[in-house]
């Protein structure tokens, strides 16, 4: 992403944000409310255009997992996957559905309506839809927001497996502890401005080393930069 700016009328949502991610890397986008995290992800996903700047990947090369499960509650797991595989014009939709049922461990729930699944399983289907076209990069907007601790653990294991397979994973989160634990690199946004781009340790060092826990370091980092 190079010098991406997004304006809503007079309001500047993103100001010349640039970064890059390598295959198999997990990048967390963190920042206070209204920082521009979702705007950044939605531009990368092709949901809305940037006012200026470039994104090197086309939206069709990027898998998208919105914060709330974007699937149809009246359709079964398999029907949802098949529908989106067809809409994504995946060459063999049935094979893609079978692959995702195995990958997400939902084969035994394949015929269950989404509305009857737990939040964790719905989120797994949500992620599976994002992975149907086997994209080289996956975007997740607050993926663990509605999950219990056990479901979160399974989610991060699944994401680690994806990254291990070479998929670049970008996720936004409010939980900076998760960013510390599960991200290889961080992007810190505040008021649409990219304040930091580096590893969690580099962020801690930027505010004076290990005298703080990571969350404390993050808050101090923002405070020192006037946020």
């Amino acid at each position: 992403m190079q010098r991406v700016t997004k304006r809503y009328g007079e309001r500047l949502a993103l100001r010349e944000v640039s970064f890059e991610a390598t295959p198999g890397e997990r990048v967390a986008i963190i920042g206070p409310n209204g920082a521009g995290k979702t705007t950044l992800l939605s531009i990368l996903a092709g949901i809305q255009p940037a006012t200026s700047g470039n994104v090197s990947r086309l939206p069709r090369d990027i898998g998208w997992v919105p914060q709330h499960a974007a699937v149809y509650s009246k359709l079964s797991v398999a029907e949802n996957l098949r529908l989106f595989a067809r809409l994504e014009k995946v060459p063999d939709p049935n094979a893609a559905v079978e692959r995702m049922l195995d990958q997400t461990g939902l084969r035994d729930r394949a015929d269950d309506e989404l509305g009857k699944l737990s939040g964790g399983n719905r989120q797994r289907v949500n992620i599976a839809v994002g992975l149907l076209s086997d994209p080289p990069a996956l975007l997740l907007d607050e993926p663990s927001a509605s999950l219990d601790p056990r479901q979160r653990e399974r989610l991060w294991e699944f994401i680690a497996g994806l990254a291990g397979g070479g998929t670049t994973v970008l996720f936004s989160t409010h939980n900076v502890g998760e960013a510390d634990r599960y991200a290889d690199r961080l992007i810190v946004l505040a008021d649409g401005e990219l304040l930091f781009h580096g590893t969690p340790r580099e962020l801690e060092q930027a505010v004076g080393g290990d005298t703080y826990d990571f969350e404390g370091a993050f808050v101090r980092f923002l405070h020192e930069r006037g946020h």
Partner: protein, 446 residues
């Protein structure tokens, strides 16, 4: 787009209660409205007391016998009579609410009628004023029937008078008080007088007097010749020539009621379905996923319009086939029914997606769709002249903005003839306009 439509049909198949309500409710409402439109108001129950003694229902007007019961029958055609035997009983029926009014034919009616208009008989009508609406209905019904009876009687009087004038003019046999005799008549008298005048010697002193009588007879003949027309004008001063204008002029009421019923059903099915299904894409959070290149926004709008139009057309055709079993419809026009239903449904579908796009939530969209559709349909059915011109012009503009009126016109034309091209063109314009509004609403849909 076909996968999206297939998905929507799957969702509908899994929501049987919703689909049942969506189809049954409008069909029921539509059939009720259609039934009400195809029937006139029911006859009001009226207590009827005839005080004319038995065997005295007829009277003589000159040499003509007139039967009073024949004219009382005029009332019975418009009311549901409850025959009573006294004024007290008639009052009791009205007070108790069993009858909305009482109509009393007085005993002296025959005697007064037989005077040929010298004395005017009076009917007594007692109303129940408990319900002003019903009272007005009964009042106008009785007044109307009274006018018809008056007209029939005056016509009878005119005929009798014309007979006498004819006899006076042309002469002939006259039957009065059981005696037959010949009347000479003015025309024959005039001829005789002219013959006598011709036989008088020149300078006869009777000549000028006879000339005077001949002039009077000639004048009387020429004026009495016009008397029948004059009497006709007096008994019915105004004649009515009826000319119908507008497409629905020759349309039977039953067919119009069918068109209204079917159009209302289509409207509810289509508007609610299109509004709900578009709003559902947002409620299920699927819109953001679809909007990133899987389906174009215009494609999404088109899919929802097509889905709603398809479902509503099927409902409309099923209704038409069902109604066609009971009401005479021209089955040869079936292809036109399909065309009218498709265009009408597309118009309603476009309105629905515009509502769904702006309301953004299924419940809000459904409520808004319902609240908007009903008054639009009612306004479109307001006839001209039922309100003042300014208000009617406003109603016409509102009706032209929404698809109900053109859809109804198209369906009426498809069922019973008339121009279908203009309503279809109107619907195409509305589909484009509401489709564009819906597309615009998707900018803030995510």
């Amino acid at each position: 787009m076909r996968w999206l439509m297939l998905k929507d049909l799957q969702i509908l198949r899994r929501s049987p209660l919703l689909v049942t309500l969506l189809v049954l409710y409008p069909v029921l409402i539509a059939l009720l409205i259609g039934y009400a439109l195809s029937r006139g108001p029911s006859k009001p129950k009226v207590a009827f007391l005839n005080e004319v003694p038995k065997g005295q229902g007829s009277f003589n007007l000159g040499a003509t016998k007139i039967n009073g019961r024949q004219y009382a029958g005029k009332f019975f055609s418009a009311i549901d009579p409850i025959v009573v035997h006294s004024r007290a009983e008639a009052l009791q029926k009205v007070r108790s609410g069993q009858a909305l009014a009482a109509l009393i034919i007085p005993a002296d009616i025959v005697q007064k009628l037989s005077t040929g208009g010298l004395e005017r008989p009076t009917l007594d009508v007692i109303y129940n004023a408990e319900n002003p609406l019903k009272r007005q209905f009964v009042e106008s019904t009785i007044q109307f029937q009274l006018a018809k009876a008056n007209q029939a009687l005056s016509g009878e009087f005119r005929k009798v008078a014309a007979q006498y004038i004819g006899l006076l003019l042309k002469g002939g046999k006259f039957d009065a008080f059981g005696t037959n005799f010949n009347v000479l008549g003015l025309q024959s008298a005039n001829a005789i007088l002219k013959g006598v005048r011709g036989s008088l010697p020149r300078g006869s002193p009777q000549g000028p007097a006879l000339d005077q009588v001949i002039r009077f007879a000639t004048l009387a003949i020429s004026n009495l010749d016009l008397s029948n027309q004059v009497l006709t004008s007096v008994s019915a001063p105004l004649a009515v020539r009826t000319t119908t204008i507008g497409a629905g002029g020759k349309q039977p009421l039953d067919t119009f009621a069918v068109a209204v019923a079917v159009t209302i059903s289509m409207m509810f099915v289509c508007v609610l379905l299109a509004a709900g299904m578009l709003a559902l894409e947002r409620e299920e959070n699927a819109f953001t996923r679809l909007a990133r290149g899987l389906v174009s926004r215009l494609g999404l709008v088109t899919e929802k319009i097509s889905l709603a139009a398809l479902c509503a057309t099927l409902v409309a055709l099923a209704m038409l086939i069902g109604i066609g079993i009971f009401v005479a419809v021209d089955w040869g026009r079936f292809p036109l029914w399909v065309v009218a239903a498709l265009f009408g449904a597309a118009g309603f579908g476009a309105l629905g997606v515009a509502i769904g796009g702006w309301a953004r939530e299924v419940r809000a969209a459904s409520l808004f769709a319902f609240l908007l559709s009903l008054p639009v349909a009612v306004l479109a059915l307001v006839p001209s002249g039922a309100t003042n011109q300014t208000l009617y012009d406003i109603i016409r503009v509102i009706s032209a903005i929404f698809p109900f009126r053109p859809a109804l016109d198209a369906m009426s034309a498809a069922l019973s003839g008339g121009g279908i091209g203009l309503p279809l063109l109107h619907l195409v314009i509305l589909v484009a306009a509401f489709g564009a509004l819906a597309r615009l609403s998707l900018r803030r849909f995510a």
